[in-house]
Amino acid sequence: MSIQPEQLKYCDSHEWVYAPTDAGGVATVGISAFAVAELNDLVFMALPSVGQKLAAGQEFGEVESVKAVSPMYSPVSGEVIEVNSGLVDRLEQLNADPYDQGWMMKIKMSDPSELAKLMDYQTYQKMISQHG
């Protein structure tokens, strides 16, 4: 798998989703390079368990930096079918590659039409450039 930021959809809370049409309704979720840079100095991450059901906008985990704790929200509804559990012990991978090695969970979507509500790459870039 090679996930490129340009192919992704984004939430305003900085999570990304990778859900190509040939993935059979499965969405891969992570957080953007901008979010990782803003957090800086990560020390802890909590991810959901396989089988957990999530609604769009529901908290699925948290990342903690020296400065603060930030919850992460699921961009879509569905059931967690796979978790990148090794990532919690290799947080440096999230810094190095938040889009490919840094994926966090895969969700079997219950309502793929939710994808249409998310931002595309250009819109997200515009949002973070205004963010400062």
């Binding site: 809370s13 900085h14 979010a35 803003e38 800086n40 100095d41 020390v43 802890f44 948290e62 903690e64 930096s65 020296v66 400065k67 603060a68 704790v69 930030s70 400062g132």
Partner: protein, 380 residues
């Protein structure tokens, strides 16, 4: 992610430098301040191992002139001022009549180059409006004391770390870099007037400089030129907080408030009651005598080392082995020096013994914690 708060309308003389040099800015006490530049851990480590330079111009600087300035301040501060000699600095508290803390401050007795003796009070940025307002009736009682808020016309820079003396020897006259701990001097930085004090808020050796606002960028850049080969980094408020927490230093609004008295906060050393009458002294005297007998204050400020990787931050509840809630965390972070979460908390005095095993609630999950001696970090 944090969204900027409104109400930022103050800028330090170094603001443009921070923005041009990668500072991530955020509002603090009305000022747009650098939270970090290269990263909290890098800046923290630079201060512990080499040199960190901080813009602390947001701190309030209040000047008192006149032959009775010492009498006024002696009436307002918990620490004795009347016996202060030029060059001395003292940590003190300002209390209300009930003995609650209005602020914690540094008071310096200084001698100008023309031989004039005056006092400088450095107060917390977030408390300055409150303190200036509170001062007014007391100033009216001492009409011969001249009061000036010099915060806006000056800048304040902290130079902290094991390389601070070496680097400052290239920037300041020998009399300044040879100052003892908690001593201060009016001198110059390459002919720009400068108040130097051997003080800080990091647990490291170092200096705090006060210069004219118009000289701030020059002095700041001179420090970076002199410190370049010594691993100097600019340090934001993020690492200032992790450094002071490791050093066990209280922060107003967290460990200190009007609801807490100095004894509960472990700051009895900053209260001189003998033969003195100052604002709050009667309340403090009764709290002090009862503290040794049947205690009024049953809480105590402690340090906690927390197991795991998650920090127990402000407002985390603390429990004893019997599941009883016995206190709460006032400051907590992941300590870069110890690679472990640390917190300061107020807990029941009978649970405050060093080595005591407690639990902290971190957003619904319990983590074991041990009471440890403050400060967490002491420089060797």
């Amino acid at each position: 992610m944090n969204t900027p708060q409104s109400g930022t309308n103050l800028f330090t003389p170094l603001h443009a430098w921070h923005v041009q040099n990668g500072g991530k800015m955020a509002p603090f006490a009305g000022y747009d301040m650098p939270i970090q530049y290269s990263g909290i851990v890098a800046e923290h480590t630079a201060t512990r191992t080499a040199l960190g330079v901080f813009d602390i111009s947001h701190m309030g600087r209040l000047r008192f002139d006149g032959p009775r300035a010492d009498q006024l301040l002696d009436h307002l501060l918990t620490r004795r001022v009347l016996d202060m000699q030029p060059g001395q600095v003292r940590y003190s508290l300002i209390c209300n009549e009930e003995g609650g803390m209005l602020d914690d401050v540094l008071v310096s007795c200084l001698e100008s180059p023309s031989g004039k003796i005056y006092f400088l009070l450095v107060v917390n940025a977030s408390n300055k409006p409150k303190i200036v307002h509170w001062l007014q009736p007391h100033l009216a009682d001492f009409p011969d004391v001249e009061f000036h808020d010099v915060t806006e016309s000056t800048a304040m820079i902290a130079v902290q770390g094991p390389r601070a003396v070496g680097v400052c020897e290239r920037l300041l006259p020998p009399a300044a870099t040879k100052l003892g701990y908690y001593r201060a001097k009016v001198t110059d930085q390459m002919s720009k007037p400068c108040i130097v004090s051997r003080t800080g808020y990091t647990g490291e050796d170092g200096f705090e400089l006060i210069v004219r606002a118009e000289d701030a960028v020059r002095v700041w850049e001179n420090i970076f030129l002199a410190g370049r080969e010594h691993g100097v980094l600019p340090v934001g408020l993020g690492a200032r907080d992790t450094l002071r927490l490791e050093a066990g230093m209280p922060l107003y609004g967290h460990e200190l408030s009007e609801q807490i008295d100095p004894f509960t906060a472990g700051l009895a050393f900053a209260v001189n009651l003998k033969d003195r009458n100052f604002v709050g002294s009667q309340s403090l005297a009764s709290k002090s005598s009862s503290a040794s007998g049947a205690s009024v204050s049953k809480l105590k400020r402690v340090g906690l080392k927390v197991e795991g990787r998650r920090a127990a931050r402000e407002q985390s509840k603390v429990y004893n082995a019997d599941e009883k809630e016995i206190g709460s965390v006032t400051s907590g972070t992941f300590s870069p020096t110890f690679n472990q979460p640390i917190s300061m908390a107020y807990v029941d005095a009978d649970a405050a013994n060093i080595g005591n095993r407690l639990e902290v609630d971190i957003r619904g999950t319990r983590a074991p914690a041990t009471v440890v001696e403050l400060p967490f970090y002491k420089r060797s």
